[in-house]
């Protein structure tokens, strides 16, 4: 066990966990932040996507010991009331079916738009292909990303 001080959604949190513990389980089990989802545990499905210093990472494969002073943002930190352009676009297009993968999809989308404010269809496809949706909402995700891109400053 080791003590870590993590900056999550603008708040510094103290935890005492095994250094190998993935951020996913730190968030879910230790910080009671279940918005970040467990899907595969091997960075193959994207359900656990969070931002590390603004870049999308798969939190199931990111050990707490590797985070250091880097800043973590989760779906709860995108905005608590759904006002982030990506959240608004997701609501506008009523993207979700079961909804389980969507927090990971939105975190990937938000990271994409941060680096590439006006992505082409192909760029969206490539960037988002790490996030699986068994309900098959990919078409709406793409439309929502394009809508969010329009409101991007």
């Amino acid at each position: 066990m080791a003590k870590y001080s993590l900056k999550v959604n603008g708040k510094t949190q103290q935890i005492d966990v095994d250094p190998s513990t993935p951020i996913l389980w730190v968030l879910r089990d230790h910080l009671n932040m279940p918005g970040t989802k467990f899907g595969c545990g091997m960075a193959m499905c994207g359900a656990c996507t969070v931002h590390l210093n603004g870049s999308a990472v798969r939190s199931c494969s990111l050990p707490v010991s590797a985070v250091g002073k880097q800043v973590i943002t989760t779906i709860e930190g995108l905005s608590a009331n759904g006002t982030h352009p990506v959240q608004k676009a997701w609501l506008e297009h009523d993207v979700a079916q079961c909804g389980y993968c969507q927090s990971g999809q939105m975190m990937s989308a938000a990271a994409l738009l941060k680096d590439n404010p006006k992505p082409s269809d192909e760029e969206i496809d490539t960037y988002m292909s790490g996030n699986i949706c068994r309900c098959g909402t990919y078409l709406r995700i793409k439309e929502a990303i394009k809508t969010a891109a329009k409101t991007n400053p």
Partner: protein, 749 residues
């Protein structure tokens, strides 16, 4: 306007005052179906179609509607309340929806599956909404001392035009609670709908996009521990002995023990599965600690013995044998070829098929195969349980709480009143969560550990546990005469461990000489319902075959189907045809029109069509396929669905588009194989799921506009995708693909 009696043998209403003022209206409706449409593949007996629920109207004008059925992405939490709100003439903005807890007295069937939620609740919910509206009108008439006929409603407000009086529903709800129940009510006509058939956003949308704890895996309770199971590494194996000494030394680990999911020799009830019985359990403080400690278990496994048990479900009682042995896909394929040659069970026979084939000028015979598939719900199986000697609480994702409760009553020896089941939103279901073994496991672990626990499956646990879409094969034969007329049709299908054939579906009824047969091979690999069970294979095989026959006859694929359907409509062969040929025709005609069928294809883009009937609805697709870097890619899809009245069009389009994407993914990539009993795929690195870049650019969805009572939508659009893809692939490559997944037959670029 439709008049309904509210107090018949099959329905009743009950109203009462809400404490603190307001109205609560409870209702029960026993829905009766013809045997042919009884839950399609489940053959559920009629008593399971008792539907009840309630509406609350509070003095502050909040209309609270409980959603009786579990939500797994089919959008029932929005669509079912819309039906009530429509007949109530409520203002949708004042409607608050909550997921009901499991209570089969208050809420009846509560079954999410078989694409039945909207279909079964359509009439009872309309009836309930219209009754409440009628009582509110009566309350207004009494309060204002005017004739009830003069009271109108609009969007949650009662009006008396002559006197200019008005009041919202909340203001008169307490008074309405004193009004006797209406004996006869009027429901709206479809063209007057203002909520139903008008798109409404998902009532849980904001919770989903802000990451609120909605799912089973998100549930937690103070003092709760985490549990994981270790199941045998292969089907046909069981636990012999184990050494947990290293595991128990790991940080955070509380206990290691075994549980038995079922009592050996006990009857197997509905949705009960017998995959693995004795399971090794690790209980600890946190998920990561338990995951790691489980890896340190030293376990010795041994082969199972053959077992015989009684399946007692859905009115059937039969002996079932679970064979011993470690099965491999390669050997299974060979065994299926062998069985396909043996005599099979006769399922349907019209005319004289033997003579037709004997007299045929040309016989076309083709065999189609499909592998096991894993459901791969994005949320792996999990459940919370707290079981004591006195009572039990279960919280998590499940599709069939009533059936689960029966299983829990039997396994835990507690009466149903002592078992509370709370249903969370499900991260996908697709049939998988109708099987409550993981609830039983959670309950047994809690009972033994004497603490509240949450059982979590890893992806690997989930994918290798069984309850798969079965492995299927079907051989189709068509007999053509010298004029290339179709004079005989024969389907002989089989599977491990289930026969897929729907003997009374199209083209049964359209061919004079028709034969359907089926066979089964028992297995210790367990299976379960998977989005449109059996149909998801049949549509692929049959719709491919129909294209092959059409080609041999020199006919256009859609014209060929329409000719057969014309025959089935005008002069059907046999009596038990499941489908309505007219509605089938409607789908194909509109599909032809909307897809621009028959227009020349450009050089790279090839089109395939398929249409299928299942779960009381009709669906067809035309897919446009191109080859990209030597691999097939479906670029554009046109879909037409006849599911009667569409409740929530935008969500319905989403559902159809999703079914198309899911269908393409499974047709191209889905496969689960076995070697020496062990599942060869365990996670998304070796079980390929369709991804963003593989989804079509556009999926156009059209619904047949009619006033027919709504039928299923979650499943019907899925099966024909496989057939349309296969037919487009043939046109594109000149090669017919007989084995799913189709990319397994595709030369690697």
């Amino acid at each position: 306007m439709e008049y309904m009696k509210t107090q018949s043998r099959r329905s009743f209403l009950k109203s009462s005052a809400l404490s603190g003022g307001g109205l609560i209206l409870s209702f029960t409706w026993l829905s009766s179906f013809k045997s042919a449409d009884k839950m399609a593949d489940l053959n559920l007996p009629e008593q399971w179609n008792e539907l009840t629920g309630y509406i609350k109207i509070t003095p502050d004008n909040i209309i609270k509607i409980m959603c009786p059925n579990p939500e797994f992405g089919q959008n029932v939490m929005t669509s079912l309340p819309m039906i009530i709100a429509e007949e109530l003439d409520a203002n949708w903005k004042n409607v608050v929806v909550e997921m009901a807890i499991h209570d089969n007295v208050k809420f009846g069937g509560q079954f999410t599956g078989g694409s039945q939620s909207v279909r079964t609740y359509w009439k009872p919910l309309r009836n309930a909404g219209a009754s409440a509206r009628q009582m509110l009108r009566e309350a207004a008439a009494q309060t204002w001392n005017v004739a009830v006929e003069e009271i109108t409603t609009k969007s949650g407000v009662l009006f008396h035009e002559k006197s200019g009086k008005s009041a919202n529903y909340g203001e008169l709800a307490s008074k309405a609670a004193t009004i006797p129940l209406p004996k006869v009510i009027k429901t709206k006509i479809v063209k007057d709908f203002s909520i139903v058939s008008k798109s409404k956003k998902n009532v849980e949308g904001i919770k989903i996009v802000t990451g609120k704890p909605l799912f089973g895996l998100d549930y937690r309770q103070e003092g709760m521990l985490i549990a994981m199971i270790q199941h045998p590494p292969a089907f046909g194996m069981k636990l012999k002995s184990y050494d947990a000494s290293l595991t128990l030394k790991m940080a955070g680990i509380k206990d290691v023990f075994t549980i038995k999911v079922y009592e050996e020799g006990s009857e197997r009830g509905a949705f009960e599965t017998r995959t693995f019985n004795e399971l090794l359990v690790v209980v600890g403080k946190t998920t990561w600690e338990v995951m790691n400690a489980r890896k340190k278990l030293k376990v010795i496994w041994e082969p199972i013995a053959e077992t015989k048990e009684i399946l007692n479900a859905f009115g059937r009682k039969q002996e079932e044998i679970t064979p011993t042995g470690l099965e491999s896909t390669i050997a299974q394929v060979e065994k299926m070829k062998e069985y396909a040659q043996k005599p099979a069970k006769l399922l349907r026979k019209d005319g004289d098929p033997e003579a037709a084939f004997k007299n045929a000028t040309q016989v076309i015979e083709r065999t189609y195969n499909a592998p096991f598939l894993a459901h791969n719900c994005m949320e792996p199986m999990n459940f919370f349980a707290h079981v004591t000697d006195e009572k039990a609480l279960f919280v998590g994702p499940l599709q069939a709480p009533n059936f689960a409760e029966q299983t829990l009553v039997r396994r835990f020896g507690l009466s149903a009143e002592k078992i509370e089941i709370q249903m969370t939103r499900m991260g996908g279901g697709f049939g998988r969560r109708a099987y409550p073994h993981y609830m039983v496991e959670a309950g047994l672990i809690s009972q033994k550990a004497k603490v509240p626990i949450k059982l979590i499956y890893t992806r690997e646990d989930d994918m290798t546990y069984g309850i798969y879409r079965p492995m299927y094969t079907a051989t189709y034969r068509a007999a053509l005469d010298a004029n290339k007329n179709l004079i005989g049709f024969h389907v002989k299908g089989g599977g491990i461990p289930e026969n897929p054939v729907h003997a009374n579906r199209f083209p049964a009824g359209a061919v004079d000489n028709y034969l359907a047969e089926g066979w089964e091979i028992p297995s210790n690999i367990t299976i379960g319902a998977f989005r449109a069970p059996r149909s998801n294979f049949n549509a692929a095989a049959e719709q491919s075959f129909l294209d092959e026959v059409a080609e041999a006859m020199g006919k256009d694929p859609i014209e060929f189907r329409l000719n057969l359907l014309k025959r089935a409509k005008e002069n059907p062969v046999g009596k038990n045809n499941d489908y309505d040929a007219g509605r089938y025709v409607g789908v194909l005609e509109l599909l032809k029109d909307k897809s621009g069928w028959g227009k020349p294809e450009n050089s790279g883009k090839k089109r395939g069509v398929a249409a299928y009937f299942c779960h009381n609805s009709y669906a067809g697709h035309v897919v446009d396929l191109v080859m990209k870097d030597g691999q097939p890619y479906v670029e554009h899809v046109t879909s037409v669905i006849d599911c009667g009245v569409v409740i929530n069009p935008d969500a319905a389009i989403n559902m159809v588009q999703g079914a198309v994407v899911d269908g393409i993914g499974n047709a191209f990539y889905g496969a689960l194989t076995h070697k020496e009993g062990a599942t060869e795929q365990s996670n998304f690195h070796n079980y390929r799921m369709i991804r963003h870049n593989e989804a079509p650019k556009k999926i156009e969805v059209y619904f047949i506009q009619n006033d027919i009572d709504p039928s299923g939508l979650g499943e019907p659009p899925f099966p024909p995708v496989f057939g349309a893809v296969a037919n487009a692939l043939y046109k594109s490559t000149g090669k017919r693909y007989y084995n799913q997944p189709f990319t397994s037959e595709q030369p690697k670029s």
